[in-house]
């Protein structure tokens, strides 16, 4: 057992874990944050995507001990003061989800790609950047639409603030 400490959604957390505990299991089973999903055992589906120190990673392929000392953001950490994050709102407005299983990972991957590309996102780039996220309901078209809408809105918001 090892005591791990990290910041999750702005809150300092710690817990004793076996060294083999995957980050996703620490998040779901120990912290009770069950928005992060597990959809495969081949590191390919992206249902488990969270941000570690500001970068999207697969929490099913990272040990909790590897993440010790880092800052993690999960889907539960996106909404602020009861207001959906613009990417969450865009998924809702554009019907970017069907069963919703892949959605937390899709949204976290989307926020990450918007952080990296800003308003310069085009459809081809969005599709390339969704390489590591699989939607079993195959609703990619509206997912791509939602991400493009959110990227446009977020970069307009940034310009207005400047």
């Amino acid at each position: 057992m090892t005591k791990v400490s990290m910041t999750v959604n702005g809150r300092q957390v710690s817990g004793d874990v076996e060294d083999r505990t995957l980050l996703v299991h620490f998040i779901r089973d120990r912290l009770g944050l069950t928005g992060t999903h597990v959809g495969c055992d081949t590191s390919q589906c992206g249902a488990c995507v969270v941000h570690m120190d500001g970068k999207a990673i697969k929490s099913c392929s990272t040990l909790a001990v590897q993440a010790a000392g880092s800052s993690i953001t999960t889907i539960e950490g996106l909404a602020k003061d009861g207001e959906l994050h613009p990417v969450q709102a865009a998924f809702k407005a554009n019907h970017g989800l069907q069963c919703g299983f892949c959605t937390p990972g899709m949204v976290m991957a989307a926020v990450d790609m918007i952080n990296r590309h800003g308003g310069n996102l085009d459809e081809a780039t969005v599709r390339e950047n969704l390489e590591g996220n699989i939607c079993r309901c195959t609703g990619y078209h509206n997912i791509v639409k939602a991400i493009l809408a959110a990227a446009a809105e977020m970069s307009a918001g940034r310009q207005a603030a400047e």
């Binding site: 060294d19 590191s43 590591g132």
Partner: protein, 264 residues
Amino acid sequence: MYATNYHRASSVADALRLKGASDEAKYVSGGMTLIPTMKQRLAAPSDLVDLRHIAEMKGITVSGGRVRIGAGTTHAEVAQSAEIKAACPALAHLASLIGDPQVRHMGTIGGSIANNDPAADYPSAMLALAATIVTDRREIAADDFFTGLFETALQDDEIVVAVTFAPPERAGYSKFPNPASRYAMTGVFVAKGPGGVRVGVTGAGANGVFRHAAMEAALTGNFSAQALSGVTTDPSELLSDIHGSAEYRANLVNVMARRAVAAA
């Protein structure tokens, strides 16, 4: 996953000491190969020595006519690096094609070449760029480093610290990704550098990554896609699996090589 004991190394010397303390220890960098393998119980190291926080293994520098990439540099960092885009844009392009954004945020160049997966991208570039693999104890020419499927010249506890190469005059990379895994079903890196033309082929060889002597000869006099049209690849030395036969890959090698030259 079987139980394991995690250790975080603070320096290369610290990592060697931690590794030496156990017979069954393994290094972990990005973990993008090792953790999935442990999840499937195909690897069961008693101890993991984490190299991800070692400052001396990070960063990209270009000086004195050499590019140096620390082994702990992630695929995303290589893909975005202004220095790499200026010195060898084909290598930045190669890094941008590895896996997906999440894998690129964790996976490292050192982990990729130490693992020497026959379908990994970087080994082809290391061969074509005549790179030098810098370890904690010596420098190994890429030609001597990749010795077979998942086999390298590394000793059991040897750590890849960096790779270095001279920026090529021209270079290109073209990959035919497996539609499911995104690993290379065939990837060809061509480079025209100080030591002449070199062609590295990954994803296709039955014995792992290899240099294509006939293509190098054809491109030496005439560095153009047309120069490759008559060059063939012997299928008896290529991989055959559910994704494609050796004959199919032999054709892919030629197509990818022509595209790589055209892109260079």
